[in-house]
Amino acid sequence: MDLTFTPEQEKFRAQAREWLAAHVPAEPLKSFDTAEGAKQHREWEHVLNGGGWAMVPWPVEYGGRGANLLEWLIFEEEYYRAGAPKRINQNGIFLLGPTIMEYGTPEQKARFLPKMAASEEVWAQGWSEPNAGSDMANIQTTAIRGTDGDGEHFMVNGQKTWASRGAFGDWLFGMFRTDPDSERHKGLTFILLPLDLPGVTVRPIEQLDGLPGFAEVFLDNVRVPAEYQLGEEGQGWQVAMSTAGFERGLMLRSPARFQDTARRLVELYRENADDVSETVRDDVLRCWIGAEAYTLETFRTVSRLLAGGKIGAESSLNKIFWSELDLKMHELALEILGDRGDLLPGAPAAEGVGNWLDGYLFALSGPIYAGTNEIQRNIISERILGMPR
């Protein structure tokens, strides 16, 4: 067990810190779920990419920095420490990108990865359908292969929902039923789909914060060229599972995010310590410990992965831990803010409320998205503990 960073790692950290200090916007950007904010965030991604920091863990050949997971954790620590913007193209960078690297043809890699790295193309998720949420194998949107004058294609019909970044994104990825006679996990194919094709209708869905964080995507005889199929036909479930593993796991929930929240929570507590009870204090400390625990467990996992280990069903433990921690931290913050806790940031009396309210509304979705915590508990009990189905 060696819990110190190497000189190379410290150097990497220093580089990241220096670059971020010089480039992170002084003013917070607007939410990327607004038209203006989406534009700002695309610009920021452009800057990031220009500095070579957009796709830190990607191989250099695809526009990345070729960093290993430990360096990526270090970068994330510095990124959050610098208060840098959220990542508008996280669906691309962290979910689809690695999947394309694993399953894509050379042409697909060349076609998609550089534009993804630059966030010239922002990706929406197209996992869920109205009747395929927790039960993802129940996908009904069809993509029937055919040939016409312009070549091989899929004719796509159906509806996707909860497509995050659907409102301001360019492309959507997801599973489609290419064998209409198939059932459940079989007969599905992973397909990439431009949102500007004829027959695509995007209806933004407003979230609890009133912003269109996701969208319904109606697909009516959408002709998708066959070259946008990722992986083998009928193997969509396998391709998707690798993506889902990434989503629940490491990439999207770096410890830095929760450590940053925990730090701000402790600071908020300190500022208001005279007005809140010991109960709140103990809970604040517990949350801080929780964020540390999450960090330690992540470094432990990454150590294992770097030594050749695999992530399996443990990502379900991870999902439950961070989502409950994140929600608890935001609940506590609103409690500490007291009478100011539910004021909108623009309210005259809202001094010092920060973005805790928005954060709270977002944190409420944590136990739901990327597989509800109930589904995760099923997975833990069945696949990790070996309990009977």
Binding site: S128, N131, G133, S134, D135, N138, T161, W162, I205, E206, Q207, L208, G210, F214, V276, S277, G338, D339, G341, D342, L343, L344, G346, A347, P348, A349, A350, L357, L361, L364, S365, P367, I368, Y369, T372, N373, E374, R377
Partner: protein, 354 residues
């Protein structure tokens, strides 16, 4: 000893419930969200027709002459409906305060309230913002803890404080206290303010019960219809147990609120304790209900267009109205740990002196 409501009270509850179900649909609530004030004088008039604003107004002033025991079931109904109109501030708090102040002020304003022609908002030293001040005609405000002033809204400085719940309209209010505006001082003022606080907290608690009940109903309905893995998600034990847990909290909060109503109506010396207990358990049920019913809904519950959040936000707002939990917990502590309140079996229905 009979811990039941009488038939008239239950009948009135049913009537009001039916009325509100018809009038205050989620669509109506949402339409009001998009208005400048979030309040509707027309709706207020309609509510006056069934007697709600004037329920506690003495009959001589055109009201129903009822008390908090009569009112508590109806307040729960307004919570169930997600009604945003100033029932708590005007009907539950201002009316009894005006009644206690009496004299010309009562004579002028109580009839107007009963007919739905006036809204009165109340400020309190322990409550950070004044609810519904922006649509009030008259404000009953404290100056320190020892004076109550009646101020025409046009004479006060009202700054709205936009909050998370579009139905919640709160404002910071400042005014220039004069001898002319002062309607009570000293012990009398303190007594009025203490009673106002308890009435506000009681009414908020009752509304929280209704909001919680409504969220359970929405979740039961949704999870019974929504299918995953070939069956309704409401047939999964995890979903069932989430909602069963909320139901337990709700059903054991309700009698606490009802007893508090009785203590307020009867002027029990334990009124403050009973009200704080009620506020704590009812709002805890409401906030817990919001969390669990959201989880049972899944992603759909997280959208603006699904109605669930109308009541989620009400539950959060009511938790904040008329004293947040730490304040009420402090009052329970004072009553229980310092005043030597009667404790243990046999003391629930007796007064400290008994």
């Amino acid at each position: 000893m009979d811990f039941r409501f009488n038939e008239d009270q239950e009948l009135l509850q049913t009537t009001v419930r039916d009325f509100l179900e018809g009038e205050i649909t989620p669509e109506v609530v949402r339409e009001l969200w998009d208005t400048d004030t979030g309040r509707s004088p027309a709706l207020w008039k309609t509510l006056a027709e069934i007697g709600l604003p004037g329920l506690l107004v003495p009959e001589e002033y055109g009201g129903m002459g009822m008390d908090e025991v009569d009112f508590v079931l109806l307040l729960e109904e307004t919570g169930r409906a997600g009604l945003a109109e100033p029932i708590v501030s005007t009907a539950a708090v201002a009316v009894p305060m005006l009644r206690e102040i009496g004299g010309a002020l009562a004579k002028e304003w109580l009839p107007k309230i009963a007919t739905g022609d006036a809204v009165v908002a109340v400020g309190h030293p322990d409550v950070a913002f004044v609810e519904d001040a922006h649509v009030a005609d008259l404000l009953l405000l404290s100056n320190g803890a020892d004076e109550v002033h009646a101020v025409l809204a046009v004479d006060a400085d009202i700054t709205l404080q936009p909050a998370n719940d579009p139905s919640r309209k709160i404002a910071s209010v400042s005014f220039t206290p004069t001898q002319a505006t002062c309607v009570a001082s000293g012990d009398e003022a303190r007594a009025f303010l203490a009673a106002a606080f308890d009435r506000g907290a009681l009414a908020s608690a009752a509304q929280a019960l209704g909001a919680c009940d409504r969220m359970i109903a929405l979740a039961v309905e949704y999870t019974s219809e929504r299918k995953q893995f070939g069956k309704p998600i409401g047939s999964f034990q995890a979903v069932k147990h989430h909602l069963a847990g909320v139901k337990v909290k709700l059903e054991y909060a309700r009698p606490v609120v009802q007893r508090a109503a009785h203590s307020v109506a009867s002027g029990s010396p334990l009124r403050a304790l009973h009200v704080s207990m009620a506020k704590l358990v009812a709002c805890e049920a409401g906030v817990f209900g919001a969390k669990q019913t959201l989880q049972c809904h899944g992603a759909i519950g997280y959208t603006w267009e699904q109605d669930l959040h109308v009541w989620m936000r009400r539950a959060w707002s009511l938790d904040r109205s008329w004293g947040r939990a730490p304040l009420h917990m402090g009052r329970v502590q004072t009553a229980l740990l310092e005043d030597g309140a009667p404790m243990g079996s046999g003391c629930t229905f007796s007064s400290p002196g008994a």
